[in-house]
C-alpha cells in the first residue's frame, strides 16, 4: 500500500501563516502588557497585517494542500480587502474600547484570527476548507460581537449572532453533505466535473437541494433577505468598530466563498441559481432600503443599508459575467472603504455607552466639525452611488453586468432602490448641515490612528472614483476561474 503525501505548498497560505503566528504571539504578549498600554498590541497587529499584505502574490495560480486551497488573483484580491478591513478596524478600535472601558488585549488577536478565517474562505477550493474558514471567522466574531461585556446590547448581539450563526452553518453544512452525497467529492472542481455530462448527478434531487441549502447558508452570512433578520440587532449591539468590521470583511468573505463555489462547482445549475439569486437580490435590496428609510439610529440605518448593498452585489452575481463579477470585487473593496470610513466617524462622534448614535445627534456637525462632516458626506455619497465616488463606479459595473446579460428589470429595480436609498443618506446630511447645532462636539477626539483610518477611506473612495482604471483592471484579472 502506497501512502501518498499531498503536495503541501506552504507558499499558498503565506499571509495566513504570518497572521496566525502574529496572533498567537500577541496572545502571549498580552499577558505582559498593562491594561492602559494595550494600544501596543494594536501596533503589533498592524505590523503583522502590513507584513501579511507584502506576502500576497499576484498573477500566480498555485494549488496547495491537496487541492484544499488555491492561491490565485481572486484570493489575492479578497485577501487585500480583508487586510484593509482589519487594518482600518484596528485603527479605530483603541480609542473606542478605551472609551468604553473594555480595552482587553484579546481584541487584536481575535480580529487577526477572524481575518485568517476570511482568507481561507476566499482561498478554499474544497467545501471543507470553506467550512473551516467560516468557523474560524465566526467563532472569533461571536466573541467580538459580545466584546463589550458590560453592555447588555453587546451581550444580546453576541448571543444572537452565535445562535443564528450556528443555525445557518447547519444549513450550509447540510448542503455540503448533500452535494457530497450526490457527487462523492467535496472538491469544487471535481464537483463540476462529476455533474457535467452526467445526467444522473446533474438531475439528482439531492444535488439541487444541496445547492439550495448552501445558498441559504451563504445568504445568512452575506445577510441577504429573507435571511437578514440577525443583522440589525447584531450590528446595533456590537461595539461600533466591530460592526464596521463585520459589515465589510465577513460579508466580502461570504461573497468570496459564495462566488467561487457556485461559479466553479455548480455551473450545471446556473439557470437555477441565477433565478434564485435574482429573487434574493430584489428582496435584499428592497427590504434593506425600505427598512433603512425609517431608522433613527445611525448604526441601525447602516446595518439595513449594508443589507441593501449585499443586494446590489447580488445583482452582479445574478449576471455572473465579467462585468458583474469584477463589479462585485470592485464594489466590495469600495464598500470596505466607504462603510468603515463612515463607521470611523460614528465611533468618534459616539459618547460612552454607545450613546449619541441617533441621526438627530448629528445636528450641526457641519458647522462644528466641518472636515469630519465633509468626510462623512463623501462616504454617504459613495454609499448612495453618486459620482465621482467609487460607489458609483462599482454600482455602474454591477448594473451594467446585469443589463449586458439581459436582466433589464433587475437593473431597473436596482437603480430605483438606489434612488430610494438616497433619502436616508441625505437625511444624515440634512442634520449635519441644515440643522442648528445643539452640542459643541467637544468630546470628539481625533486621534492620529482614527485620522489615518479616515484618510485611507477617503482616498479609497475618491481615487478609484475618479481614476478607477487600475483597480478595475485588477478586478478584471481576478475573476474566479477553475
Amino acid at each position: 500500500m502506497e501512502l501518498a503525501l499531498p503536495q503541501l505548498n506552504f507558499m499558498t497560505i503565506m499571509p495566513e501563516i504570518v497572521l496566525s503566528v502574529v496572533a498567537m504571539a500577541l496572545l502571549l504578549v498580552n499577558v505582559l502588557v498593562k491594561s492602559e498600554e494595550k494600544a501596543y498590541l494594536g501596533y503589533l497587529s498592524l505590523a503583522g497585517l502590513v507584513g501579511a499584505l507584502f506576502t500576497v502574490p499576484w498573477g500566480e495560480k498555485i494549488s496547495g494542500f491537496g487541492e484544499m486551497v488555491i492561491q490565485d488573483n481572486f484570493s489575492s484580491f479578497f485577501t487585500v480587502i480583508f487586510i484593509l478591513c482589519a487594518v482600518m478596524t484596528i485603527l479605530i478600535s483603541d480609542g473606542y474600547f478605551k472609551k468604553e472601558g473594555c480595552n482587553h488585549g484579546e481584541l487584536y488577536p481575535l480580529i487577526l484570527f477572524a481575518t485568517v478565517g476570511m482568507m481561507f474562505m476566499a482561498k478554499a477550493t474544497d467545501l471543507m476548507t470553506v467550512f473551516l474558514g467560516l468557523e474560524v471567522l465566526s467563532v472569533a466574531l461571536y466573541v467580538l460581537a459580545g466584546f463589550n461585556r458590560d453592555n447588555i446590547k453587546s451581550n444580546e448581539a453576541g448571543l444572537k449572532y452565535f445562535l443564528l450563526g450556528c443555525f445557518s452553518t447547519g444549513f450550509l453544512l447540510y448542503g455540503m453533505a448533500l452535494i457530497y452525497g450526490a457527487t462523492g467529492t467535496t472538491k469544487i472542481v471535481r464537483i463540476a466535473a462529476m455533474a457535467s455530462g452526467n445526467g444522473a448527478v446533474a438531475n439528482n434531487m439531492m444535488f439541487l437541494v444541496g445547492m439550495l441549502l448552501m445558498a441559504t447558508g451563504f445568504s445568512f452570512k452575506i445577510a441577504a433577505a429573507p435571511f437578514h433578520m440577525w443583522t440589525p440587532d447584531v450590528y446595533e449591539g456590537a461595539p461600533t468598530p466591530i460592526t464596521a468590521f463585520m459589515s465589510a470583511g465577513p460579508k466580502a468573505a461570504g461573497f468570496a466563498a459564495f462566488l467561487r463555489v457556485f461559479i466553479i462547482a455548480l455551473p450545471t445549475l446556473t439557470v437555477q441559481w441565477s433565478d434564485l439569486l435574482w429573487i434574493l437580490a430584489v428582496l435584499t435590496m428592497t427590504t434593506g432600503n425600505i427598512i433603512a428609510l425609517s431608522q433613527d439610529n445611525i448604526k441601525r440605518m447602516l446595518a439595513y443599508s449594508s443589507i441593501a448593498h449585499a443586494g446590489y452585489a447580488l445583482v452582479g452575481f445574478t449576471a455572473h459575467n465579467a462585468s458583474g463579477v469584477s463589479g462585485i470585487l470592485f464594489y466590495l473593496l469600495s464598500y470596505t472603504f466607504m462603510n468603515i470610513g463612515a463607521f470611523a466617524i460614528i465611533v468618534i462622534i459616539g459618547k460612552k455607552g454607545e450613546a449619541n448614535n441617533n441621526v438627530q445627534d448629528y445636528a450641526g456637525l457641519g458647522v462644528k466639525r466641518p472636515v469630519l462632516a465633509l468626510c462623512l458626506s463623501i462616504f454617504l455619497f459613495s454609499l448612495a452611488g453618486i459620482p465621482p465616488t467609487a460607489g458609483f463606479i462599482g454600482k455602474f459595473y454591477l448594473f451594467a453586468g446585469a443589463v449586458q446579460e439581459g436582466y433589464i428589470w433587475l437593473a431597473i429595480i436596482g437603480v430605483l432602490n438606489s434612488a430610494a436609498s438616497v433619502y436616508y443618506y441625505l437625511r444624515v446630511m440634512v442634520f449635519m448641515y441644515m440643522k442648528n447645532p445643539e452640542e459643541d462636539f467637544s468630546w470628539v477626539k481625533l486621534t492620529p490612528a482614527v485620522m489615518l483610518c479616515i484618510l485611507i477611506a477617503v482616498a479609497g473612495v475618491l481615487i478609484p472614483g475618479i481614476i478607477p482604471n487600475s483597480v478595475l483592471n485588477l478586478a478584471a484579472i481576478s475573476l474566479p476561474l477553475p
Binding site: 465579467a322 462585468s323 469584477s326 458647522v367 466641518p370 455619497f381 453618486i386 459620482p387 465621482p388 458609483f392 463606479i393 455602474f396 459595473y397 448594473f399 451594467a400 443589463v403 449586458q404 433589464i408 437593473a411 431597473i412 437603480v415 430605483l416 438606489s418 434612488a419 438616497v422 433619502y423 441625505l426 437625511r427 446630511m429 440634512v430 448641515y433 441644515m434 481614476i467 478607477p468 482604471n469 478595475l472 483592471n473 478586478a475 478584471a476
Partner: protein, 545 residues
C-alpha cells in the same frame, strides 16, 4: 486653443481648491469666487471668437479615461452651435449669480462659494460632454452642490425642497443610466461616444423604451407637466443665486438633453412621442400660466412662469424644423437671461423687505424709479414684447410649430403668450403701481451700484438679442440642420415616410397636405421639396421611394 473647453470647465474647479485652503475672510472669499467666475467668462469669450459656423463638433478633446473590462470611457468633449450658447450662458450667469448674494449670504460663505463654483463645473461639463458616461457623471455632479445650496442657504422650507429636488432628479437620471448601459451594449464593443451611438439604428420598439427612460430624466429637469412639482418648491426656497442658476442653466439641461441625446439617438421614438410631448408641453404652458396668475408670492409666480416658458422651448424643439429648433434654442438662452433677471429682481425686494407677497407691495415705482425701469424691461422681455429677446424666441417657436405637425398644439400654446402678459403685467401693476400705502415701503431704497451692475449686462443682452439675434442664430443653424437630418433619417429609412417631411419651411408651407401624408407610409408624395437635397448622397431616403 486645443484645451480651451477643459480650461473653461476646470478653472472653477481650481477656484474650488483655492477656496478650500483660504482663511475664512468673507470679503476675500467672495472676491476670489467672483474673480474665478469672471476669468472663466472671459476665457469662454474665446469660444465665440474661434467658433466656426459649421455643423461639426469643435474644440474637441478625446482622451482615454477608463478602460477596464468591456468598457471604454473617454474624456471626450466638444461643442457645436447648440451647446456653444449654453456654455456661454453658464459662464455669463455665474458672476451675476455670485454678485447677487454678495450681502444676502453671510453664513458659511466659503462653503457657499465652493458649492457655486462646483455647480459650474458640473453644468459646463454636462454641456460639453460628447461621451455619454462623462455626461452622466457631470449631470449627477450638479445635483450635490445644488442640493446644499437650497438646503443650507434656502428659506424656511428649504430641507423639504432640497430633498425633493434631489430625489426627483435622481430617480429620472438613474433610469437614464440603465438606458445608457443598454444603448452601449446594443452598439457593441467600443466607447461611449455619442456620435457612435447616433448611427447604431435601433429598432423602433427598443427605441420606445430607451426614449422613455431618457425623456423621463430630461422631462423632470425641464420640468414638464406633470413632473414639475419640485420646481416651485426648489425655486422658492433657494437663495437668489440658486434660483438664478436653477432657472438660467439647470432647467436647460433638460431641454438640451432632448436636443443632444433623446432626439438624435431615438428618431423613431421621437416621432412617435412628439404628440405626447407636445400635449404635455401645451398643458404645461396653459396650466402653469393659470397657476402663475393666482400666485401671491412673486417668486412662486416667476417659478411657474418658468414652467410655461420651458413648455414653449419644448414645442419649438419638437417641431423639428429649423425655425422651431432655432426658436427653442434661442428661447432657452432668453429664458436664462430674463427669468434669471426676474429672480434677481425678486431677490432685491426680498432683501429689502423680507417678504415676497404681492399684497405687501404697491406703488414701488415712485420710491424706486431705477428699479421700476429695470423691472419693466425684464417683464417685457419675459412676456416677449417685440424689441426684446423674448419676442424673437417665441415668434420662431410659434412659427416653427405652426409649420410642423404640431399646428394644433401651437395654436393652443400661443394662448400662453397672452396669459404670460396677463400674469406678468398684473403682478407688475400690483407691485409697482398704485398707492404707496404700506408705510414700510416708503423707506425702501432704490438699487445700489452693485445691483445695477448686476442688471446692466442682462438688460443689454435683452436688447441685443431682441434687436439683432442673427449672430446667435447663425452659429446654431448648421448644427440644427444636422440635428434635423438625424431626427428624420432613421424614420425615413424604417417607416418609409416620404422625404417631403424633411422640413424645409418653404416647401412645407407650399404643400401643407404633405404634413398629413406622414402616417400613410409608403405613399410617395408627388412634390419633392428642395429640402431633399440636404440629405447626404446615397441616403436611405432614396431607396424608400
Amino acid at each position: 486653443m486645443d484645451y480651451i473647453l477643459s480650461l473653461i470647465t476646470f478653472i472653477p474647479l481650481a477656484g474650488v481648491l483655492l477656496l478650500l485652503v483660504m482663511p475664512r475672510n468673507n470679503a476675500m472669499l467672495r472676491g476670489v469666487a467672483l474673480g474665478v467666475s469672471l476669468v472663466t467668462f472671459i476665457v469662454s469669450i474665446g469660444l465665440i471668437c474661434e467658433f466656426k459656423t459649421i455643423a461639426d463638433y469643435q474644440f474637441v478633446e478625446n482622451i482615454p479615461w477608463i478602460k477596464a473590462g468591456s468598457f471604454q470611457m473617454n474624456y471626450h468633449v466638444g461643442i457645436d452651435g447648440i451647446s456653444l450658447w449654453l456654455v456661454i450662458l453658464t459662464t455669463f450667469i455665474m458672476p451675476i449669480a455670485i454678485l447677487s448674494t454678495w450681502t444676502a449670504v453671510e453664513e458659511k460663505v466659503k462653503e457657499y462659494m465652493i458649492c457655486l463654483l462646483l455647480l459650474q463645473v458640473g453644468m459646463l461639463g454636462a454641456f460639453i460632454s460628447l461621451d455619454l458616461f462623462l455626461f452622466y457623471i457631470f449631470w449627477e455632479l450638479m445635483l450635490i452642490p445644488m442640493y446644499f445650496i437650497i438646503g443650507i442657504w434656502g428659506g424656511k422650507n428649504r430641507v423639504y425642497a432640497a430633498v425633493k429636488f434631489f430625489i426627483y432628479t435622481m430617480v429620472g437620471s438613474l433610469l437614464m443610466l440603465v438606458a445608457i448601459m443598454y444603448v452601449y451594449f446594443k452598439a457593441g464593443a467600443g466607447d461611449f461616444d455619442i456620435t457612435r451611438f447616433y448611427s447604431i439604428g435601433l429598432d423602433p420598439a427598443t427605441q420606445t423604451w430607451l426614449f422613455l427612460a431618457f425623456a423621463l430624466a430630461f422631462a423632470i429637469k425641464v420640468p414638464m407637466f406633470p413632473l414639475h412639482t419640485w420646481l416651485p418648491d426648489a425655486h422658492t426656497e433657494a437663495p437668489t443665486a440658486g434660483s438664478v442658476i436653477l432657472a438660467a442653466v439647470l432647467l436647460k439641461m433638460g431641454t438640451y438633453g432632448f436636443v443632444r441625446f433623446a432626439i438624435p439617438l431615438f428618431p423613431d421614438a421621437t416621432a412617435r412621442f412628439t404628440p405626447l410631448i407636445a400635449t404635455l408641453s401645451v398643458i404645461g404652458i396653459v396650466y402653469a400660466s393659470l397657476v402663475a396668475m393666482m400666485q401671491e408670492d412673486v417668486k412662486k409666480l416667476v417659478a411657474y412662469s418658468s414652467v410655461a416658458h420651458l413648455g414653449f422651448v419644448m414645442i419649438g424643439v419638437f417641431a423639428l424644423n429649423q425655425q422651431g429648433i432655432a426658436g427653442g434654442m434661442l428661447q432657452m438662452i432668453n429664458h436664462g437671461i430674463s427669468t434669471g433677471a426676474l429672480f434677481l429682481i425678486v431677490g432685491f425686494i426680498y432683501e429689502r423687505r423680507h417678504t415676497r407677497l404681492i399684497t405687501d407691495f404697491g406703488g414701488l415705482s415712485k420710491q424706486m424709479p431705477i428699479f421700476a425701469t429695470i423691472f419693466m424691461i425684464v417683464t417685457f422681455s419675459s412676456i416677449g414684447l417685440p424689441g426684446t429677446n423674448g419676442f424673437v424666441g417665441e415668434f420662431l417657436v410659434l412659427l416653427g410649430g405652426f409649420e410642423s405637425k404640431l399646428r394644433v398644439w401651437t395654436i393652443i400654446a400661443s394662448s400662453g403668450v397672452i396669459l404670460s402678459a396677463v400674469y406678468m403685467l398684473w403682478m407688475f401693476q400690483r407691485v409697482m403701481f398704485g398707492e404707496l400705502s404700506n408705510p414700510k415701503n416708503q423707506l425702501l431704497k432704490d438699487l445700489n451700484v452693485r445691483e445695477i451692475v448686476i442688471m446692466v449686462p442682462l438688460i443689454v443682452m435683452i436688447f441685443v438679442m431682441g434687436i439683432y439675434p442673427k449672430p446667435f442664430i447663425d452659429r446654431m443653424i448648421p448644427s440644427i440642420d444636422k440635428l434635423i437630418i438625424q431626427a428624420k433619417k432613421t424614420q425615413v429609412a424604417q417607416l418609409v415616410v416620404p422625404a417631403s417631411v424633411i422640413d424645409n419651411a418653404a416647401a412645407v408651407v407650399a404643400s401643407p397636405s404633405a404634413e398629413h401624408a406622414v402616417p400613410a407610409a409608403g405613399t410617395a408624395s408627388p412634390d419633392m421639396p428642395d429640402g431633399h437635397s440636404i440629405l447626404p448622397a446615397g441616403h436611405p431616403a432614396g431607396e424608400s421611394k
